[in-house]
């Protein structure tokens, strides 16, 4: 039996585990469970200073640099959006590094 990769599986089960890791990070820091699509700041009431902690966490954990127009709150609103940002920057920034 082989486990089939289901391309329709929701982003929360992203094969690289970014969403799962971020949900764990959030739970560890806020002591409550989060959904991948919850707006952390509007619905979740997290502070803007916490947003900065998320930026630092993403940079350290995924070896990316978040700069310029990528550094805006909208990119950090939900776990899904953060994961998308991580994937995009990992791709472009590793491209850059390897020429």
């Amino acid at each position: 039996m082989t486990v089939q990769y289901n391309p329709e599986s929701p982003a929360s089960t992203g094969a690289d585990g970014v969403e799962a890791e971020l949900l764990g990070f959030l739970e560890g820091h806020t002591h409550s469970a989060w959904e991948p699509e919850t707006d952390l700041f509007q619905e979740g009431g997290l502070s803007s200073l916490f947003a900065m902690q998320l930026v630092v966490h993403l940079e350290k954990s995924y070896g990316i640099a978040i700069r310029g127009t990528d550094l805006r709150l909208d990119n950090f609103r939900t776990v899904t959006r953060m994961a998308a940002l991580v994937r995009r920057l990992r791709e472009t920034q590793s491209d850059g590094r390897h020429g």
Binding site: S48, L49, A51, M52, V55, T69, L71, R72, L73, F76
Partner: protein
Amino acid sequence: MSSTPPEPPDPPAADAASHALTVLGAGVMGVGITALALGHGLPVHLVDTDRQRLDRARDRISDELRLAQLLGALPPGTVPGQLSTGTDAAAAAGATAVIEAITESADLKAGLLAEVSALVRPGTPLITNTSSIPVEELAGAVDRPAELIGTHFMNPPYLIRTVEVIRGPRTGGRTMSAVLSLLAALRREAVVVRDAPGFVTSRILHPMINDAARVVQQGTATAEAVDALMQGCLGHPTGPLRTADLIGLDNLVDSLRVLHERTGDEGCRPCDLLLTLVREGRCGRKTGSGFYNYR
């Protein structure tokens, strides 16, 4: 009448590069004001007598700039201004405006403003960011009192759009308009008030915070409960004690003392709990703990 020359054209829009600020004091406010100015494209020379503070300030400023950008508080597409730092206030000689944000002590401020006033080009606005010391009290120390004015940026300056501006009895009209155009270049909205101990915001906020601390001291409620009530029932944005931690409790005690000495209002005498926290080095966010823990 016919000989009246035509009105000159409007001056060009304030160009960020035409400013060269010197900020005195690299503490909570000096760092915040510097970040605000750099983020709006203005160059800043930052001065502090404490070399270690100055070294830490660079990292703190770049953190604050990132936070400001994250929160959309900076004008998009602006090239940040250049930052330079030093321990000698003599560097203020070439500034287009000087913003003083050192420790809240009338003697320290008078001494430094006198020194700087003797160095700058006549006509350069000297802006004190004091919380509570009347501008007129400091005006006695400077060479040209018309050049001294108060502004009251609040922490963090890039998120708080409104700035209290204090016009002392001797503040000149040219200083006034130069400062208003500087604030416009920083996209701040000025509310001009008259001179008095604590002006408007500190005169109201600081005794209120002192009362909030006293309520905790008397055991009526925890800091969390006080803030929750002030937020939830009275619409205060963060609660007075979280605000106190953001201001810095040492600075708050200094400001309350200035107010108490000058108004005689017993409500401004810093309460024991504030004094104890400061004695223990728990000055709020900047030291990692105060009414709350930040570590």
